[in-house]
Each structure stands twice: as structure tokens, then as C-alpha cells.
């Protein structure tokens, strides 16, 4: 079985749960109870959902246009080969940023089409006012660095590691490939988004790892 077939099977499953994001509001009874404990307690919708709706299958609240991106820490190796961390807020605050995500470094579509497209169109995108283009994957920073070198990418696109998948999970874009023999674990769905001052303005999110709407050209046309 080829990797493409393996991931296609997983995409079909993701399509079932990924297509209608549900945004749940905390029930008012719980709100008043927590009110007694002080308004400084953050209301985490995900934890309330777990407590009250444990019999409902888990539905990720996938990011959408108009949302503010949650903050998270990503990592990369700088030009001096030192490991650096950077927050989503740092690369998106007061800027126009493009975030591109791929299911896996060194995988065919990601390496041959998706990422190279953004490297090629980087100058055009920057001419349209984009400050930063970053590619994110659930791979560690060592692998991202090796992939960047393999594709001979310079400063055009930042390659950032979401090593533990925290950012990917926080925006509800996980792609669970754990039970596939190809052994990819939980990765990110493919997407390309335009973020302005931390708010999602354009979101081209694929089903799994398909490559239909998330290319550099698609984004260039939309900006």
C-alpha cells in the first residue's frame, strides 16, 4: 500500500468529523457557579465540553475566518544552528502573515508542490504586503532544518516545527494518521491562511492532505 493510499483512507474519515465545526457556549448554570470563584478563572470551552458532553463524539472546534489565532510556541534552528523558539503571537501581531501547514516534511506533495510553490511566489506575496510566510509541520526542528536545506530554501519562507502538535491541536486542524502502517502519528491537515494582526482573514483548509485550495497561487488570487 502506498503512502498516498494510506493517507487517502484517513482523509475520508477526517471528512466526517472535520466538515462542520461546532462552537459550544458554556451553559449558564455553570457560569454562575464559577462566578463565585472569581471572574479571573478562564472559561475553557474544551474542558466544559469534556465534563458535560462526554458521550458525544469529540468534535474539534476548527479555526475559521474571523477568529483570533491561539498562541503557541514553535521552534526552528537559526542561521547559526541554534535552536530558537518563536510564538505565533510574535509572528502575527501587527503584521500580515501567511501560515502554511503540511502533513509531513519530506513527503511527496509537500516537498514537490506545496512548499516550493510558496518559495517561488514569496516575492509576489511580499509585493502584496505580506510580511512573513511560515510553513508549519508536526515534525521536530531537526527534521524541518534538514528539509529546508534539502529544498534549498533561504529566507523566503520560515520553516517552523510544531513538534508536539500543540498549535495544530489548538486550531483543530489535526490529521490523525496513527493507525496507518506508514506510522505518521498525529499530523496537521494541509492549509494556507492569511492572518492580519493575529486574526484569520483567509483560510484555505484541505480535507486531510489533499491539495486543491491551499496553493500559493490560490492565496495570491485571494489577497
Amino acid at each position: 500500500m502506498t503512502a498516498a493510499t494510506a493517507t487517502t483512507a484517513a482523509f475520508a474519515a477526517v471528512r466526517l468529523i472535520g466538515s462542520s465545526p461546532l462552537k459550544l457556549k458554556p451553559p449558564s448554570t455553570l457560569l454562575s457557579f464559577r462566578g463565585n470563584l472569581g471572574s479571573s478563572l478562564p472559561m475553557r470551552i474544551s474542558s466544559i465540553r469534556r465534563a458535560r458532553f462526554s458521550t458525544i463524539p469529540k468534535i474539534s472546534a476548527t479555526i475559521s475566518v474571523g477568529d483570533k489565532l491561539p498562541d503557541a510556541t514553535l521552534s526552528y534552528f537559526d542561521a547559526s544552528d541554534d535552536l530558537q523558539t518563536v510564538k505565533i503571537s510574535e509572528i502575527t501581531a501587527n503584521k500580515k502573515t501567511i501560515l502554511v501547514a503540511v502533513p509531513g516534511a519530506f513527503t511527496p506533495t509537500c516537498s514537490q508542490k506545496h512548499l516550493p510553490g510558496f518559495v517561488e511566489k514569496a516575492a509576489d506575496l511580499k509585493a502584496k504586503g505580506i510580511d512573513t510566510i511560515a510553513c508549519i509541520s508536526v515534525n521536530d526542528a531537526f527534521v524541518m532544518k534538514a528539509w529546508k536545506e534539502d529544498l534549498k530554501i533561504g529566507d523566503e519562507v520560515l520553516l517552523l516545527s510544531d513538534g508536539n502538535g500543540h498549535f495544530t491541536k489548538a486550531i483543530g486542524c489535526e490529521l490523525d494518521l496513527s493507525d496507518k502502517p506508514v506510522g505518521l502519528g498525529v499530523r496537521s491537515r494541509r492549509y494556507a491562511m492569511l492572518v492580519e494582526d493575529g486574526v484569520v482573514k483567509i483560510l484555505n483548509l484541505e480535507e486531510g492532505g489533499a491539495f486543491n485550495v491551499s496553493s500559493a497561487e490560490d492565496l495570491l488570487n485571494a489577497i
Binding site: T2, A3, T107, F142, V143, G163, P181, G183, L184
Partner: protein, 162 residues
């Protein structure tokens, strides 16, 4: 799982790799090494410094000598996906005998009891560095590092034990 030890029968498990025609294959450890003398060594991560600059090169260099002493398979395992393992293997063009196998979801590493939690470094659960000498599925040498250090698990250490 208790860590694998000398005298144990090595558990079976399925690992993945890309063959010479770029087709994804999976292989069972038992089918690969039953009835043979084999070296199984593991690294915490493909493309990481010690693994790339010392551990793997040592085995690439010493594998002819290991073969002359009766070792039929030299296998490198990492908790990385097979795409990454394939790209990493390409960085050792002089390699003739070492097989790079992917334990992408870490299932086999857990079966050996040799997980290494590197979540704080953004690497998730990986494998400890180790080198095992296995004779017809029975572990005869188990050189396991506490984490990712490189003190007992080199090719030379295995050669000395043969």
C-alpha cells in the same frame, strides 16, 4: 513494558521503509532476523547531531567488519516516519549494509520498553539510544543508554562483544 534485557526473546513488531523503487513496505522484525545474528540499534532522532555525526556513521563504517563476524543484519530504528528515514538514509551514501527502519508511531519502541520522553524538547516520545545483539531472536547483548548519551551503544562496543 519492562525494558528488553539479555536473555529475552525480542518481541515482534512491524516497521516501515521505502524500498529501492520508492514503494512503502512494512516488515516484521521476526521475519527479518529469525535464525540470524543481527544488530538492532536505535537513535532518538533522524537528523540530530550525535545520531547523524557519530552513532550511525560508526555502524556504517563497521558493518563490513560486523558481517565478517557473522552478523547478517544491521538495523537502525528511530521513531520517525519512513519519509524522514528515507531522506536521512540518503545522507549516508557510503552505506552498504545498514537498514533504516521507521517506527513511526513508536509502537515497537514501546514493546521493547525503551521509550524516551522528549516532549519538552518538541520531539514527543522517542527511543533511547541503544544497540542490541540478537541471535536467533534471543538478546545476547543489550547496551542501552539512559537517554541519548553515547557511551556504550557504538558499533565498536558491539564488535568487542562478538
Amino acid at each position: 513494558m519492562a525494558p528488553i534485557a539479555v536473555g529475552d526473546v525480542i518481541p515482534d513488531g512491524t516497521l516501515a521503509y521505502f524500498d529501492t523503487e520508492d514503494q512503502l513496505q512494512s516488515v516484521s522484525i521476526h521475519s527479518l532476523i529469525a535464525g540470524k545474528k543481527a544488530v538492532l540499534f536505535a537513535v532518538p532522532g533522524a537528523f540530530t547531531p550525535t545520531c547523524s555525526l557519530k552513532h550511525v556513521p560508526g555502524f556504517v563504517e563497521k558493518s563490513p567488519e560486523l558481517k565478517s563476524k557473522g552478523v547478517q543484519e544491521v538495523i537502525c530504528i528511530s521513531v520517525n516516519d519512513p519519509f524522514v528515514m528515507k531522506a536521512w538514509a540518503k545522507t549516508f551514501p557510503e552505506n552498504e549494509h545498514v537498514k533504516f527502519l521507521a517506527d513511526g508511531s513508536g509502537v515497537y519502541t514501546k514493546a521493547l520498553g525503551l521509550e524516551l520522553d522528549l516532549s519538552e524538547k518538541g520531539l514527543g516520545i522517542r527511543s533511547k539510544r541503544f544497540a542490541l545483539l540478537v541471535d536467533d531472536l534471543k538478546v545476547t547483548v543489550a547496551n542501552i543508554e539512559a537517554g541519548g548519551e553515547f557511551t556504550v551503544s557504538s558499533a565498536e562496543d558491539i564488535l568487542k562483544a562478538l
